[in-house]
C-alpha cells in the first residue's frame, strides 16, 4: 500500500451492518471480523477509485486531524487487511 494505491474490497469480502448484533462486520471466507468505528469509516471510502492519499485527506478534514498521521495509520491497517486477502489494491492489480 502506497499513497497512490486505490484500495477496494474484493467482491467476496463484505462490509455490512448487522442489525441482529448491532455492529458492523467484515465478512470474508471462513472469517468474520468486527471493524472498529474508524476502520468502518476508512473501509467505506475504499471504493477502488479514491487513492489512499485522497482517503487520508477526506478523513483529515472530517476529523480535523493531521493528514500525515492519518495516512500512516490507515496504510498500516489496510496493508494488514491486504495481507489477509480482505482488501486489494486496484493500482497494483
Amino acid at each position: 500500500m502506497t499513497p497512490d494505491s486505490r484500495p477496494a474490497l474484493p467482491r467476496f469480502v463484505k462490509l455490512r451492518f448487522d442489525r441482529a448484533r448491532d455492529t458492523w462486520l467484515l465478512l470474508a471466507p471462513e472469517r468474520i471480523l468486527i471493524p472498529d468505528e474508524i476502520a468502518v469509516e476508512v473501509l467505506k471510502l475504499c471504493d477502488g477509485e479514491a487513492t489512499l492519499a485522497a482517503i487520508a485527506a477526506t478523513l483529515a478534514a472530517r476529523y480535523d486531524a493531521p493528514e500525515p498521521e492519518i495516512l500512516s495509520d490507515i496504510t498500516d491497517m489496510l496493508a494488514d487487511l491486504e495481507a489477509k486477502g480482505f482488501l486489494r489494491d486496484r493500482e497494483a492489480a
Binding site: 448487522d18 467484515l26 471466507p29 471480523l33
Partner: protein
C-alpha cells in the same frame, strides 16, 4: 480488528446467543463413496428431502435468526437442481454463501449460474494428489482430474477457493504434495483435516487411523509450510482427536454458534448428533427455526456448562472447549454426557489412545459409503 468468534466467547450469562453459521446439508446424494464421510450411516433418501419451497422459507428463517454464513453442503449439494435458486435467495437475504463440494459434477455453465446467483466462496474436497489413490478412496474414476478443472474454473471467475484435504493413514504421506497442489490450484486456504471418527469414518477406523509417527511428521510439515507460505496460503490444521491431549471445542460449543439442517429438515447441533441414542431432534417442517434454536430438546441438552460432569465441571478450560465432542463421548464410552475421552483429563483417555494404536495397525480395506448401508472394498 477482532474476530467475531473471539468476542462471542464466553458469555456466562447466557447458554447461547445468535448463531453465526448454518451448515445446510441439502442432500445426502453424492457421486462419491468416501469411507470417511461424516454423513450418518443411515442416509436420507431423495424422497425425504425438503422441497425448494420449504428451503426458500427456511432460508428466510435462517436470516431472521441473525445467521451470517450459510454453507451449502451434503452429500453433494450440486445433486440438487435447485441449488442456484437457493443460493440466489440466500444472497438476496445477505447471507454469506459457501459451496462445499466434491466438484466432480460441476460444469462451467453451472458455476456461472452459481456465481451469477451470488455465491461467495467455493470449497473443494480432495481425496489424494494421485489419480489411482483418489479413485480408490472416492470410488469414482477420473475424479481428481475433474476437481483440478473445477478449481481452475473457480479461480478464473475470481471466486475464492478453499481446498479441503481429508487426511488419514492411507494418504498422510502425500501432505507435502497436497500443499503444493493447493498452491498450484490457486487456493487461498487449505484445510488439512484429519478424519474425525463419526458416521462412516467410525465404521472405517481400522482402515483410516494414522500412526503416531505419521501425525508427528504431519504437524512438522504443516508448521514449516505455514512459515514458508505466510501471506500466500492459509493452512488450517485439524489435529486427529485420538492422539491429542485436549479435545476440540466441537462446533464452538454445543448449540452455541452453529447448527446443521439435514436433507429432510432435522435441526442438529452438529452433523454427527444423530449418532447419539435417545436425543430427539426437531424439524423445520414442524416448528419455526427460531423456536427450535431456543427450545429444541436436542439443542438444549448439552448447551453451556450446567450439564458437565467432573472433571469438566471444575476445569479451567470448560469455556474454551466446552467439554469436547458429545458424539465422540457417545461413540467411545456409550455416554454422550461424559467428558470427551480425547481429553487427557478423562479417566478413559488411555483406553482411547490404546485403541487408536490398535486401529492404526488395522486392515487397509474400506467399507464404502452408500445407501445400502455400506459396501466392502473388493479383494483385500
Amino acid at each position: 480488528m477482532t474476530e467475531l468468534s473471539a468476542r462471542l466467547r464466553p458469555d456466562p450469562a447466557r447458554s447461547h446467543g445468535i448463531p453465526i453459521a448454518v451448515l445446510a446439508e441439502i442432500t445426502h446424494r453424492c457421486p462419491l463413496q468416501c469411507p470417511y464421510c461424516s454423513n450418518p450411516v443411515e442416509l436420507e433418501r431423495a424422497s425425504a428431502e425438503l422441497s425448494t419451497e420449504e428451503w426458500l422459507r427456511v432460508l428466510g428463517e435462517i436470516a431472521d435468526l441473525g445467521v451470517l454464513q450459510l454453507h451449502f453442503s451434503g452429500g453433494e449439494p450440486l445433486a440438487r437442481r435447485d441449488l442456484e435458486t437457493l443460493v440466489a435467495r440466500a444472497a438476496a437475504l445477505d447471507l454469506y454463501t459457501n459451496l462445499i463440494t466434491s466438484a466432480v459434477t460441476l460444469t462451467e455453465a453451472r458455476l456461472d449460474a452459481l456465481a451469477q446467483a451470488g455465491l461467495d466462496h467455493v470449497q473443494i474436497s480432495v481425496q489424494s494428489v494421485e489419480d489411482a489413490l483418489a479413485t480408490r478412496i472416492g470410488g469414482l474414476r477420473g475424479a481428481l482430474e475433474r476437481k483440478r478443472a473445477a478449481a481452475a474454473w473457480v479461480r478464473a471467475r475470481d471466486l475464492p477457493l478453499t481446498l479441503n484435504a481429508v487426511m488419514h493413514r492411507q494418504n498422510l504421506h502425500e501432505l507435502p504434495e497436497m500443499i503444493e497442489m493447493a498452491l498450484d490450484l490457486g487456493a487461498a486456504r487449505l484445510e488439512v483435516a484429519n478424519v474425525q471418527y463419526y458416521g462412516w469414518a467410525l465404521r472405517n477406523r481400522a482402515a483410516l487411523m494414522p500412526t503416531p509417527d505419521q501425525i508427528d511428521t504431519a504437524s512438522k510439515v504443516v508448521d514449516a509450510a505455514r512459515a514458508r507460505l505466510h501471506g500466500r496460503l492459509v493452512i488450517d490444521y485439524v489435529e486427529p482427536d485420538y492422539y491429542a491431549a485436549r479435545p476440540k471445542p466441537c462446533m464452538g460449543g454445543w448449540g452455541r454458534q452453529v447448527f446443521n439442517i439435514s436433507p429432510s429438515g432435522k435441526v442438529l447441533p452438529c452433523h454427527a448428533a444423530e449418532s447419539i441414542a435417545g436425543l430427539r431432534f426437531d424439524s423445520v417442517r414442524d416448528h419455526p427455526l427460531a423456536w427450535i434454536w431456543d427450545h429444541s430438546e436436542a439443542m438444549n441438552r448439552y448447551r453451556g456448562t450446567a450439564w458437565m460432569p467432573e472433571p469438566c465441571r471444575s476445569c479451567a478450560h470448560k469455556h474454551d472447549d466446552w467439554g469436547g465432542c458429545r458424539c465422540q463421548a457417545s461413540a467411545l464410552l456409550s455416554d454422550a454426557g461424559a467428558t470427551d475421552p480425547a481429553c487427557a483429563f478423562s479417566p478413559r483417555h488411555a483406553e482411547v489412545f490404546e485403541a487408536a494404536l490398535a486401529f492404526s495397525e488395522g486392515s487397509d480395506r474400506y467399507t464404502y459409503r452408500d445407501f445400502s448401508g455400506g459396501t466392502p472394498e473388493p479383494g483385500g
